[in-house]
Structure formats: structure tokens, C-alpha cells
Symmetry: C2
Subunit: 384 residues, 2 copies
């Protein structure tokens, strides 16, 4: 079936034909993006488009730099019949992260592979937001230069509630960051590229979906940082709730009369299982120290307390969302099997509907920074 | 635009034309179902169908008994041009409920109006499931006779986890009800009509969506019974989570070291704010006694404890789902403004993303039983 036919006559309605062509460009691109290098003939067979249509679309995608041909492919006579693949030297995505105590920047190519990345400490609890934004813009320039690719846009991972207009509305751990227009500010500092924003746990969950185990299509991702965040993936897509701010796992209450939380509540999960409380309870200097000594009595007890609190909060979340899998990320992934087992045990007794599996995020998935960068290139691949 | 035209030629592809006609039947029916009696001309104007098509479709809907004409309408010459409305004597839906300590049955007509309803006590913790099913089947026969309408199907509201195959998989408060094939058993007892099953809180949430305040399109409905259930409505539809069993609010943990719960966990919301614990803590004989004496010291203190626990669990749920409204139903709605304020106060301090409004379910919405019955007629109206 050549879908460039109906509903347009052979002279074509320009707007309509353009829209069909764009649809078909995305269709061809998807065949190539989904796996190994693929020939035009195979694309035609899989899509039902004619060979001629595929060749014309592939030429356009080669010209715009989204696709490339294998080096050994050219050289014969006539139309090239050689495998196509995503162009690793083509348009690239910039991921930025403003954490509670760090900033990060990374560039991924069209395949989602990280081509340059850098993270540096930065105390955003005390720094003015403008200083933080300038710092991350500087880091962005560094990784863009390092990657040597053309960046077509950026997404910023933020540790709080983001609005649809690119504003960080509120981040409980960053008291100075209230209604900060992150997108317009960074776009100007970077010289104009489109800049989107996202919650860091949501973007880390997307990284898990795109670069983690292929069977993971429904899960709750837990981001263990200074804040504790949640990113919910249902049926292979990010679940945003009624208003786009779903997944605030860190402020699920695990002890109604517990310590006051930065959010204004008390006894939130973050106050028991967040990085700072965990380090304090374990008597550890920093995360590396905690990881190194996690078998010792004090640290093990602290991890036990945090793990059980995490299990309690996650049991509630799973009872509400009915997800089959929980993915532990960030600090929790680094704490490894010991923590995983504690959480798994709590879920086993506390979840009503079904068995739930707790897994550790694999190191290669890359977290919020890679997820942020990948949203940019994936958007371009969807709308070439 | 007459959508009976394209893509079929004037002789029509029978299967295709049939499918278009079914689509148009539903379209016409929706115009009538959505509000006041409406003329064929108005239906034609709203749908873009021709007057002739609308008249033909309306005739079919009159013949099948889904529509009726206003009594005063007929009598003129030629084609009738008089208002159409849903036929209140047409096909009806049967709602059934098996609660922890009661059974119920109700019949609604095509407009969703309750035409007969009855609820009687029945101790399902000790009764054999077969006895419970026979009891509800008997009650069904009674309300069907009382309503004097033709029932086209039934839905059963159940206080537990239901499978897609009409099985009650597990109800923590009903230890004998494990993997009970409710749909086939009741269908046989009732003489063959299709019988579906649903979670009682989900069906009560749908009743709230369909018969409650029209602005309610995104909310978490809390069903306060012996069990505590949750039904989540997002963007005007029931949210089912990854596996169809979302919303188990009663087993969100509010006190990690609290009392053992029937679900196998401990410190679940239900153990603190469920009907039985609330009556015990208040020293009340039954729900009527509690409602009557809710201003007195002991009962007020007990309601305070339950309300704060409810607020803690709901804050977690709202942080995860980002819903703007919580609807308190069942016993909680009867406890009224006093309980509502306590819950509202907890949510005000504990929800991160946005203000949340707590409202009481209005008595007229009808809860799980009406929601169950209404699913039957709404399904028929969608697929006439």
C-alpha cells in the first residue's frame, strides 16, 4: 500500500501531500531507528511503501543528515541499495540537569549514545538561580564542543514540579527556585535553541524505558538522590496524572508524626530514606563512603531503616498504580542487592493485587541526564 | 457531511456500511442521551448527518426501544418532527453488589435513573460464596420484578481484586472468596444475561463521574465501607493502572508498625480508618449510632484519628496521581463536613504539587450499586 495515494489526487493537495510525506518520513525513520542497519528494500517490505517512495524518502533523510549509509555501501552503478542507519554525526540532543547539589550536561547522538557528558558539584540550595543557570549553560558549551555535533535542542532535568511553560514552579529542596522561567532563560544563554524542562525522575524513568531492559514497559522508577523522586511508566509511556505532576514519591508519608519536611509536611519518605538522612544515620561522610562501608553494622542498620520506609511508600504506590515492577535508581541502585531485598520483602507482604518485582537500574541506562538529552533526538526522529 | 457516503460506493459494502450505520446510530443516540429531548432536525444540525439519515436512524432506534417520542408529538401528517428522548421503558441495567456484610441489587433505566433498589444484610465473611451468590440472585429477581423493565445485562460490584474473566481473585475482608468465578455463576443463576464484574470503589467512582457534579472529571473517589477502596478518574475515564487493579487505597500504609491487616500487611489505612475500627474507637454500636453521636467527645476523637490517617494516605495518593479533587464517599460522606475539614487540612500541608479540594459525595450519586447498573445501559448506548 502506498499511502501517498489516497486521499489526494495525483496532482496533490500541497498541504495534505506534505503531511503524508512527513508521516512517511517518520515511518521510514522508525524502521531504521529501531534496530540494525536496514536496506531500502527491507524498509519497503516492512512499511508497504513502494521501493521508489522509500528511495525518495531515504534521499531526503540522507540530505537532512538524519540517516547515513554504511561506508562500504556506495560505489556500484544506479540507485544505491545499501543499508541505511541513523547518522551518528547528525543532529544531536543536549541534556542538562540542575540537581540539588550538582549540575550536569550531556550530548547524545541520534542513536541515544552519550557522546560527551560532565557533572560538577554546585550548591543550589544557596546559589541564586541565575548563577545556577549560568553554570549549567557554561557546562553545556563545554560538552557541545567536546561532542563536536550540532545540537538541535535541549531538555533540562529539574528536581521539582515543572509547569508546561518551561517554568520550575517549586522544588522543595531548593527554596530559592520558585517559579523560575528555566526554559526561556537557558535558551537565551545558549544562543536560541529550544529548551524544554522535565522532572528529573520522569526523565530518568524514560531513560530506563528507552535504554534499560526491553521487557520494562510498566514500572515505577525511584530516583534516589537528595530528593526522592518517582517516574511512572504505564503501557510504554510516561504517566503524567491529571495535571502533569504525577509521581512525587518522595513526599508520600511514611511516618505521620515524623520529621518536618522541606515540602511543608512531615514524615515524608525523603526525610527517612533521602540521601542526607541516610548518610547521617549511617555516619557516612558521603555516598562513596556509604557504599564502601555498607556491610558494616551502622551503615547496614541505616540502609535497613531506609529500605523498609522505601518499601512502605512503594507498597502504597503499587497498590494505587498496579505496576508489576519497581526500578531502584540513583543512590538506591548503587546500594545494590542488600537494599533491593529489603524493599522486595516489604512489597511482598504489603501489596494486595499481585506479585511485584523490584529490580536495580542498570548503570548503562544513564539516568535523568541521558533521558533529557534523548527526549530531544527522539522528538526529532518522530517529527523529521 | 453525510458520513454514510465515503468510503463506500452507492451499492455499499455490506459489512462496511453496517459498521458506519452502527457508528451513526451511536452518534444519534449520544445527542439524545446527553440532555433534554431533541428534535431530529437538531440532531441533524449537531451531527452533520442529513435529515433523511437521521430519520432513518431514529426509526431504527424507536423500533429497538432505545428511543421514544414525546407523547404529544405524534398526530400531524407526514414524517414526525417531534422531540426524541431515551426510552425509560426500554432496556434496563441490573446492578448487583456483594459487600462484606450486605448484598444489594438495583435496576436503572436507559437514563441511569434508579427504578428499583434493595439492600439487605448478609454476612459474607462466614457465608459460603455460593450462598452469597444465590442470595444476590434472589434479590436481583425481586428488583427486576419491581422495576418491570427488561434487563439486558448485569454488573456486580465486589470488594476486592477482580480479573478480566469475571473472577473475584481476592478480597482481603472475605477470606472464603478466592478465585470465585462470579460472572459465570451469576449468569447461570439469573438465566443467562451477560454478567460483568467490577471493583466497588471503581464503580462508585463512575457513578460520581456520571451522576455527580458535572465539573468532576479528574478525581480520586474514596469508598468508606468496612473496606476502604479507591476509584481513580482521570480525564473523564476510569484509571486502571498497568493491570486493571489500580486504586487499592485501603492498603496504603499509614503506620508501618500498626495492626496486622487482612491483606497480610500491617498498618494499612483500613486498619485505622475502616468502618469497624472507627466504630470500635468511637464506642458506637453501628454507623447510625456513630453519625448520631459524632459531635460527642469520644466519637469526635475517633473521627479525628481516622480523618488524619485518611489525609495521610490521600496525600500520598495525590502526590503520585496529581488529581485536583478527592471525593469522600460511603461512611465518610455521611460523616460530613467535620471529617471533610480534617482531611482537607492534612492535604493542605502534605501535597506538594498543587492545591487539592476535598468534597463529599452527594447522596444522589448512588455509589457502587448505581454505577454497576449504569455501566450496563451506558455500554448499550455506546453500541446500540
Amino acid at each position: 500500500m502506498d499511502v501517498t495515494g489516497w486521499p489526494f489526487d495525483h496532482h496533490g493537495s500541497r498541504a495534505g501531500a506534505g503531511s503524508v510525506r512527513r508521516h512517511n518520513l517518520a515511518l521510514v525513520l522508525r524502521q531504521v531507528a529501531d534496530g540494525e542497519p536496514v536496506s531500502r528494500a527491507a524498509v519497503a517490505a516492512r512499511t508497504g511503501l513502494t521501493r521508489a517512495t522509500v528511495s525518495s524518502l531515504a534521499d531526503e533523510l540522507l540530505t537532512t543528515g538524519l540517516l547515513t549509509e554504511l561506508a562500504a555501501a556506495r560505489g556500484g552503478q544506479g540507485r544505491p541499495a545499501n543499508p541505511l542507519q541513523l547518522n551518528r554525526s547528525g543532529p544531536a540532543g543536549l541534556g542538562l540537569e540542575i540537581g540539588v547539589d550538582h549540575v550536569g550536561a550531556c550530548v547524545v547522538d541520534l542513536t541515544g549514545t552519550v557522546r560527551a557528558t560532565r557533572t560538577v558539584p554546585s550548591p543550589h540550595r544557596t546559589l541564586h538561580p541565575h548563577t545556577g543557570l549560568a553554570l549549567v549553560a557554561g557546562l553545556a558549551a563545554e560538552v557541545i564542543a567536546g561532542a563536536g555535533l550540532t545540537v538541535i535542542g535541549a531538555t533540562v532535568a529539574l528536581p521539582g514540579v515543572v509547569g508546561p511553560d518551561g517554568v520550575l514552579q517549586r522544588a522543595p529542596n531548593l527554596p530559592h527556585w520558585v517559579d523560575v522561567p528555566v526554559s526561556p532563560a537557558l535558551s537565551e544563554m545558549l544562543g536560541g535553541p529550544p529548551v524544554a524542562v522535565g522532572n528529573e525522575a520522569d526523565l530518568a524513568a524514560l531513560a530506563e524505558l528507552w535504554f534499560g531492559a526491553p521487557w520494562l514497559t510498566d514500572f515505577l522508577y525511584v530516583s534516589g538522590e537528595i530528593g526522592v523522586g518517582g517516574g511512572i511508566v504505564l503501557h510504554g509511556a510516561l504517566f503524567r496524572g491529571a495535571g502533569g505532576r504525577a509521581g512525587e514519591l518522595g513526599h508520600v508519608v511514611v511516618d505521620a508524626e515524623g520529621s518536618p519536611c522541606s515540602c511543608g509536611g512531615r514524615g515524608c519518605l525523603e526525610q527517612v530514606a533521602g540521601q542526607e538522612e541516610l548518610l547521617r544515620a549511617a555516619g557516612a561522610r558521603d555516598v562513596d563512603d556509604l557504599i564502601a562501608r555498607r556491610g558494616a553494622e551502622g551503615p547496614a542498620a541505616a540502609v535497613g531503616v531506609a529500605g523498609r520506609a522505601l518499601g512502605v511508600a512503594l507498597a502504597g504506590a503499587v497498590n494505587l498504580l498496579d505496576v508489576p515492577t519497581v526500578v531502584l535508581g540513583g543512590l538506591y541502585a548503587r546500594l545494590g542487592e542488600g537494599l533491593r531485598e529489603i524493599v522486595q520483602c516489604e512489597l511482598r507482604t504489603r501489596v494486595v493485587a499481585r506479585p511485584v518485582e523490584v529490580v536495580l537500574s542498570e548503570p548503562g541506562t544513564g539516568g535523568a541526564l541521558r533521558g533529557a538529552a534523548a527526549t530531544v533526538v527522539r522528538e526529532r526522529l518522530r517529527h523529521p
